[in-house]
């Protein structure tokens, strides 16, 4: 219907503007990041005057963003595909706990990593099958998985914190490659792979298509159900990777770990410009979203401000980001009407 009212030349203009729009939004997020760092410099000049501290601080911000960043990449795919995954935190907990049982640990680092990844993919597949073939609404299916996976994790762990005795796994969080923490390299690899997958492969184009208009995608010959299922498996895989990262950071895993990661991942994807209704979103934007949150945490920590205020600021940033999105769209439509 909208295509009928909009003149053809406007559509091409709109296309062009949409590309600019993505770049603009990323620039906006970079602006927010710079602003947060400037506030840090103004409020804590003594800390920022030490170059070693500053370098370490940026690496810390990146390192603390790495596990949630990996989860957000998977979440961005699911949301672009028109779904939502509320179970990511629970999948991390289940994969982490499963990978750190005494039996799994006896197989060494390889066994632990294999277990975490397989558990992540398997739980993601269960989500996908329930949603695609069981016709459950994604919100309900993954909400049920959130509860069930944490329950299973508590069952396996006997409600105890499971210590990782594997020095290879534990050293992932402390080792550096070319001066950059390994976890940050993992994040970079996942983001790069996610970017290529979304922007340079048929899988990525199909993701956008099934999210934007599933019926049109189906008529175009895409197996929409199977594609949705694969998206949840992809999100599960990201959770498996994050479970290993988090386990190495905490040198342990437990059923309550990665608490509320689903909300952080969704929020980061949204402020990165991913449309909650699906069909549009960027990996780079999502990464910036994660970095904004990580930088806020850092800024509040160095100023010893309470986490309550920090959560309020986080909430305000999410609302502001969505309002700006809506405002842009409204002003565009008004532009076309004139």
């Amino acid at each position: 219907m909208t295509t009928q009212t909009a003149p053809p030349e406007a559509t091409t203009k709109h296309e062009r503007r949409k590309i600019d729009d993505g770049v603009l939004r990323n620039l906006g997020l970079v602006g927010v990041l710079v602003l947060l760092i400037v506030v840090g410099i103004i409020t804590k000049p003594d800390l920022y005057s030490d170059p070693t501290w500053v370098k370490n601080n940026f690496l810390t911000i990146l390192q603390q963003a790495s596990a949630i960043g990996v989860v957000t990449v998977g979440m961005t795919f699911v949301i672009i595909g028109g779904g939502i995954d509320l179970s990511v935190g629970a999948i991390i907990a289940l994969a982490g706990v499963w990978a750190t049982t005494l039996a799994t640990q006896s197989y060494g680092a390889g066994g632990m990593i294999f277990t975490a990844l397989i558990v992540g993919i398997a739980v993601g597949l269960v989500n996908g099958v329930l949603i695609s073939y069981g016709k459950l609404v994604p919100f309900i299916a993954t909400l049920a998985m959130l509860v069930a996976a944490r329950g299973l994790a508590a069952q396996i762990s006997g409600k105890q914190t499971q210590i990782s005795a594997n020095s290879t796994i534990n050293s992932l969080a402390s080792e550096r490659l070319l001066g950059i923490p390994l976890l940050v390299w993992i994040l970079a690899l996942v983001v790069a792979a996610g970017w290529v997958l979304l922007n340079r492969t048929t899988f990525g184009r199909r993701t956008v298509a099934v999210g934007g208009n599933p019926e049109a995608a189906r008529l175009a010959g895409i197996n929409v159900k199977r594609h949705h299922m694969l998206l949840y498996a992809l999100s599960g895989l990201c959770c498996g990777i994050a479970a290993i990262m988090l386990t190495s950071q905490a040198t342990s895993a437990q059923a309550a770990m990665a608490n509320l990661y689903e909300l952080d991942a969704i929020a980061a994807a949204i402020i990165g410009g991913t449309l909650l209704s699906g069909g549009r979103g960027t990996i780079v934007g999502a990464l910036f979203g994660v970095l904004v949150f990580s930088t806020i945490t850092n800024l509040f920590a160095i100023n010893n401000l309470s986490t309550e205020v920090q959560n309020m600021v986080k909430g305000a940033i999410i609302v502001a980001a969505v309002l700006i999105q809506q405002f842009r769209y409204r002003s565009f439509t008004q532009l076309f009407k004139r």
Binding site: Q64, Q254, N304
Partner: protein, 348 residues
Amino acid sequence: MSALSRRRILFGGAAVGAGALLTACTSNEPETNAQVNTNTGTSANPNAAAGQKVIIGFSAPAADHGWIAAITTNAKAQAAVYPDVEFRAVESGTDAAAQRAAIATLIAQKPTVIVMLPADGKELDSTGLEAMKAGIPVINLDRAFPSRAAYRLQIKGDNYGMGLAAGHYIGEQLKAKGVTNPIIGEIPGIDSLELTQERTQGFNTALAEYGFKVANRRPAEFTADSGQAAATALLQALPKMDALWNHDDDQGIGVLAAIKQTNRSEFFMVGGAGSKLAIDAITKDDSVLKATVTYSPSMASSAISLARLIGQGKGMSDLVELQVPQEITLASETITKDNAAKYAKLGF
């Protein structure tokens, strides 16, 4: 078609194989370290002599934390020591509503005594009253009921005292080292809980006696991964630190990991609760963790012993009174390398 089915067989086979391997990987038999009062020689302790049969109903929230898990383990283990005690635990869910329902079924079974660790003392106050009205004495474990009539005995830990103990230890150590203007960090647990606020109050009060105060405070959530995140932020904010108090040894696993990952060792750390891992680390003395202040789940074992005495109408043999007192608050003790051996059996 044949290519497709071959692919399916391949994937199917891989899935079944992975599944079988994973199921094998859930086997998990972590050692449990129950804290039990074994002073049951009847010559030394006349109260230990088998008496009238006591049925003890037990309810604690489903454990999501090592401490609560230890509470349940301890209660069960202590009850098993007495031949005249029958132990009936009810599955009590994770919130107040579920526990209320669980206790209603427990009251209907008419146990002699009920030992209850409420999910929330205020929310389960009326349930305590109900049981007392039904003529069943209630032992209120740790999280206090506001109404005096809702319990026969209240036995609890001392959160404020824990903060005081941590503050005094840190104050004394720094004074001995001659540090005049120390930088002190604090990593509490979930900040909205009353118990966290009490611990922090006690800590600040004790530090104030030495003229010290906390330089930075980053709350975690009683989990190791949140402890790691909070500690990383704290260490970044304080490039130099003299002392650190972490409220909880479970989240302390993550705190210690973060300290190791950042290669920091210029300060000393005090833990909280008194887990087995923390006591081991203090004994070995190979990390910044030098002490921990207790908040011991051994109170569950004591609650069972006292529930038995109440059920049999006996008093505590060292006291003059013929009945068990109404309120017992455990003292928070400071475990250091010097006394760690003595406390090793109390670690959970």
